[in-house]
């Protein structure tokens, strides 16, 4: 972790507090973390430790109750819904455990989805989607629907979708959780390549083998960061 790298994310004393009836739940308690360009981070922790909340927060799907969150020096914690949507659209690529592809759309159309919410024209959108699919090696599966693809292929389509907007960071939530070990390793190898190509990756996982691939390991417990190395 060198200081010369450009800082992408800066979180300062972030808390997320839920009120469940009379109980006050601190999903995140005074968390501070900085993420730099070309980081490869794994976020680990038992369930209920707040790792999903942290990921939603980083992914701008959620806003903190307290604290300052800056993304590329833009103040996320003060943004409204549509500004957050724009940040998600332009800066963040999501990869989910359950792939979350739209079942009625072809691979190509699925990869195109983020671009639809950008200002690109149709021709440009399809061209970019094709490029992204060729990066994940699925140029020959563009017209297939998710139901016609294997689990590993589906996750590669999802990764292509995450890449298509050339995001600042790629957030993966248990990306291998629904895959057999062989496909899982394939996907992880692919993440390595993405990292080598200069992408910033954050993987939320509870598997040590996955976390080992990462260059930086963050562990959460009871809403606090207990390990960051």
């Amino acid at each position: 972790m060198s200081k010369s790298k450009k800082e992408i994310i800066s979180m300062d004393s972030i808390s997320k507090i839920y009120h469940l009836g009379n109980n006050v739940v601190k999903a995140l308690d005074n968390v501070s973390i900085n993420i730099y360009e070309n980081d490869f981070i794994s976020i680990m922790g038992p369930s209920g430790s707040g790792k999903s909340t942290l990921m939603n927060m980083i992914g701008c799907l959620d806003v903190p109750t307290k604290g300052v969150y800056k993304f590329n020096n833009e103040l996320i914690s003060e943004m409204n819904d549509s500004q957050l949507a724009n940040i998600r659209n332009e800066k963040i690529g999501f990869v989910f455990q359950t792939f979350n592809l739209l079942p009625k759309l072809t691979s190509l159309k699925n990869v195109e989805v983020p671009l639809i919410y950008s200002s690109l024209g149709k021709k440009k959108r399809l061209q970019r989607a094709e490029e992204a699919l060729s990066i994940v090696g699925l140029s020959d599966r563009m017209a297939h629907k998710p139901s016609e693809l294997s689990g590993g292929q589906r996750q590669r389509v999802a990764i292509a979708r995450a890449l298509v907007n050339k995001p600042s960071i790629i957030l993966a939530d248990e990306p291998t959780g629904n895959l057999d070990s062989k496909s899982g390793i394939e996907i992880l190898n692919f993440f390595d390549e993405l990292h080598k190509a200069g992408n910033t990756l954050i993987i939320v996982t509870h598997e040590d083998s996955v976390a080992k691939r990462a260059k930086r390991r963050v562990e959460l417990f009871d809403g606090k960061i207990v390990v960051d190395e």
């Binding site: 939603n56 799907l61 959620d62 949507a85 332009e90 739209l102 639809i116 919410y117 950008s118």
Partner: protein
């Protein structure tokens, strides 16, 4: 703008994938639009027909008779009124400043025959001045009778279009002789055919017109009589008032005694007709309006189902950067599309029915109707889709993504 269009396309693709459901839902609206269009077209053609009928009476005519023109008259009050006679006519001629032409019009029914054809005909006996008062029609062939012919009680007649068609079937009737009540009359004129009106007695098509002198001599001295007066349209109300006063004078009525005659004009029909029209339109629109509301509720229901089914999709799209407005537009356009499909089906039904019934129902089918229907559909779609679409737009992306 571009982004709105893209979200509309997404909404439309949802319609394509759920086509059966969409068609069933839109059927309700199709029926609603169909009934509304039929009622609208019906009311507007009743209106047109009525205006045509009113033309027969003329907006410059006053009719003085024993009976008021009213659909709810109390006949027992009027049946003992004195008959209208030529004395009143002379009073009006002498004293009125607004009336420009005047004629008596006596009516009776009698059998008329020509060669082997025979029919029951309505006969009017009038003055030569009645030539100026043929509202909505005119002499198209031959001429009206003259003062001289009236004075000499000549057996000459002018016939309406229907009478001409019935007896002569396209042949020139001028100079032909027909028998009325056993006496031979010569046809000297023919009126332009008007077509059927909605108000009874309006059209002159079925009439045979002759000098009232001849009418009295040959047909009957009795018969139903009224006075037909002509004035300028702008003087109508003043003229009616004036004629009412003169009639009281002619009838030698004391102050406080009520009128024993009626001064009528087409606007009396107009008022009553307006009331009937409002009743028909009101009932029609109430019933059809309910069907539109019901179909809107149907669309809303389906939209809620659609939002629920696609909660996860909404979450995915939001994670990919869709704003609340993007989602709103997507679901609104789905609702509007369902609504327009329904409306178009309704319009096609209307078109089919107007083609099938064009000879019975004078229904107007035009571009304006299509335009209005389109606007109504957009309105219904937006109103029905607004609440479900807002629900969708305001979904929390994290919850939506977790939705199974």
């Amino acid at each position: 703008m571009n982004s709105i269009f893209k979200n509309i396309l997404i909404g439309l693709s949802a319609v394509r994938t759920n086509l059966t459901r969409v068609i069933l839902t839109s059927l309700g609206l199709a029926i609603g639009i169909f009934t509304v269009s039929i009622v609208t077209a019906g009311v507007s053609s009743i209106d047109k027909e009525f205006d045509k009928s009113m033309e027969y009476f003329g907006n410059d005519k006053i009719y003085v008779g024993t009976w008021p023109w009213s659909f709810d008259f109390d006949w027992w009050q009027y049946r003992n009124r004195p008959k209208i006679d030529e004395d009143s006519l002379e009073y009006i001629t002498r004293y009125s400043t607004y009336v420009t032409d005047i004629s008596i019009k006596k009516s009776t029914w009698t059998r008329g025959s020509f060669s082997n054809k025979s029919s029951f005909l309505q006969i009017n006996g009038v003055y030569p001045s009645y030539a100026e008062m043929l509202s909505g029609t005119k002499i198209v062939n031959g001429r009206f009778f003259s003062q001289n012919e009236w004075d000499l009680q000549r057996r000459v007649i002018v016939v309406g279009g229907t009478v001409r068609d019935g007896f002569f079937d396209g042949e020139d009737p001028i100079g032909k002789k027909i028998r009325l009540g056993g006496v031979t009359f010569e046809i000297i004129g023919e009126l332009k055919k008007q077509g059927m009106g909605m108000v009874p007695g309006g059209t002159l098509d079925t009439l045979v017109i002759m000098p009232s002198s001849t009418f009295n001599r040959i047909l009957t001295r009795w018969g139903f009589a009224e006075l037909v007066l002509k004035t300028k349209p702008e003087d109508m109300s003043k003229a009616k008032e004036e004629v009412g006063m003169i009639m009281r004078l002619a009838r030698k009525l004391k102050p406080g005694e009520s009128d024993n005659f009626s001064v009528n004009s087409a606007d009396a029909y107009q008022e009553q007709f307006d009331a009937i029209k409002i009743a028909i339109a009101g009932m029609g629109f109430l019933v059809t309006g309910i069907s539109l509301v019901v179909s809107a509720i149907g669309i809303m229901n389906v939209m809620f189902v659609s939002v629920r089914e696609r909660t996860r999709e909404i979450g995915i799209r939001k994670a990919m950067g869709a704003t609340n407005n993007n989602i709103l537009v997507q679901f609104l356009s789905e609702a509007v599309a369902i609504s327009i499909i329904g409306g178009s089906t309704g319009i096609i039904l209307v078109k089919l029915i107007t083609v099938a019934l064009s000879s019975y129902l004078p229904v107007e089918f035009n571009l304006l109707l299509i335009f209005y229907t389109f606007m109504v559909c957009v309105f219904i779609g937006v109103s029905a889709g607004m609440i479900p679409a807002r629900t969708a737009a305001n979904l929390n992306p994290i919850d939506a993504l977790r939705h199974e």
